[in-house]
Point group: C2
Chain length 233, copies 2
DNA sequence: GGCGGCGAATGGTGCTATCAATCACTTGCC
DNA sequence: GGCAAGTGATTGATAGCACCATTCGCCGCC
């Protein structure tokens, strides 16, 4: 992983450059320029270009070279694009749109989990929610985050819809970004802990409606909190 | 088209083969085998591999070759993966999960559109809804589909969340698949026409709650009509 | 006979060289 | 001055090379 994979670094750099706006739509590139800038051969430059093209970030045309595309063409749902944008200057906006996506998806995923989760998954959700309360009250934010991520991942993957499961990484990024950006209170609000337990209980009871409602409450709170508190650092 | 982009055909073939289950998880591949099978050079085979790797369909390891991954690693939200799966044997299941995704996203997108759409977008939505009624009553399914797709695309793109906008192609694929699979009645049910007009009106009036509710009704109907995803246990 | 180490085969990684195809821009002709 | 042909730049595609990490089998030792 850390070894070689030369094209990864080039891809990351270029991807960040484009998604950050440093290389706005219409910026021309050539394989040659990429190769010389990064000290790689044209072969590698071509691979990177193809990857970027697959992500909708650029479009390559003969004789013209490679041109950067606008955001309307980007695969904004691709994990790599999301990561780059979260690392760039548009991080706040990105967190907002991602949170809105969570708001849309997670309640329905919770309902699905209430219907389809295995016994083991239901049990792990309940255990995670209980442990989150302990950690939250103890103020261990880092470990709390880890469990929070796990909680939502189980839920999304147990939803019976692999589309939702594919968003597990996104949710993890949002949660992580939120705490590491200081958008979380020093200790989680009790309501959030209550709602997580409510979701876990509803899933354990196979009560889809209750699970959906409780999850909607979680994401709704976060969403309004994120919109209201923009000055904390 | 057929002349250039040599790698596209190889990519499509391999992508379909993997997503269809013809090449299940664990299937080994080598650059050499791909090159000889499709009559292309190793460079092209490498590009295809990188693309497939980017989609999470395969993983390449030294000495071991390239192995096909399971669905849990796929980028199931990528338009190409969706297209392949829609063309494969799992089409019905794919339509169901995509419809569930629509169910999650479109109501919120409608609410967003009610808040953020431009005047032109609002006007086009109203016009599209009105024309859909005419076409629906006339029984022109093909043209109706075209407008239906347009309607939902405007809405998603006007939502103010580019994540939702990125799903426009998905929705188009679902709608198209539905009618071409004969899952649509000979003429659209009046309720659907009413709801489309209700959404358009609510967006025109900047009434986010009404838009969300009306869109929820549209997708909810479709969902239950598609074959009882619900049937709680 | 079993176990451990060493070496060879394998196959991705990356590079260079080379040719083909295309297309924008320039130049020259009318 | 306008238009068409030529030309050069740039991607598309291939072949062949060196490199190296990994794996597997063979051999020797206990």
């Amino acid at each position: 992983m850390a070894t070689t994979v030369l094209h990864t670094t080039v891809l990351d750099t270029l991807g960040r450059r484009i998604t950050s706006g440093d290389a706005p739509a219409g910026t021309p590139l050539t394989l040659e320029s990429i190769g010389t800038e990064f000290g790689v051969s044209r072969t590698v430059a071509r691979e990177v270009m193809r990857l970027l093209e697959g992500l909708g970030l650029v479009r390559s045309k003969r004789r013209v070279g490679i041109v950067v595309l606008g955001i309307e063409d980007w695969n904004v749902l691709d994990p790599r694009v999301i990561r780059w944008r979260l690392e760039g200057p548009g991080r706040d906006a990105q967190l907002r749109t991602l949170t809105e996506l969570r708001h849309a998806v997670e309640p329905l995923a919770a309902a699905g989990a209430a219907r389809h989760a295995t016994d083991a998954e239901r049990a792990e959700l309940v255990a995670a929610a209980a442990r989150m309360r302990l950690l939250g009250e103890a103020g261990d934010l880092e470990e709390f985050l880890r469990l929070d991520v796990r909680f939502h991942e189980i839920l999304l993957r147990a939803s019976g819809n692999e589309m939702f499961g594919a968003l597990a990484g996104v949710v993890a990024a949002v949660l992580s970004g939120r705490t590491h950006l200081g958008l979380m209170p020093a200790s989680p609000v009790p309501e959030a802990l209550d709602q997580h337990e409510a979701v876990a209980r509803a899933v354990a009871d196979a009560d889809a409606e209750a699970a959906e409602a409780a999850m909607a409450a979680i994401v709704g709170e976060v969403r309004s909190a994120l919109g209201g508190v923009e000055r904390s650092s």
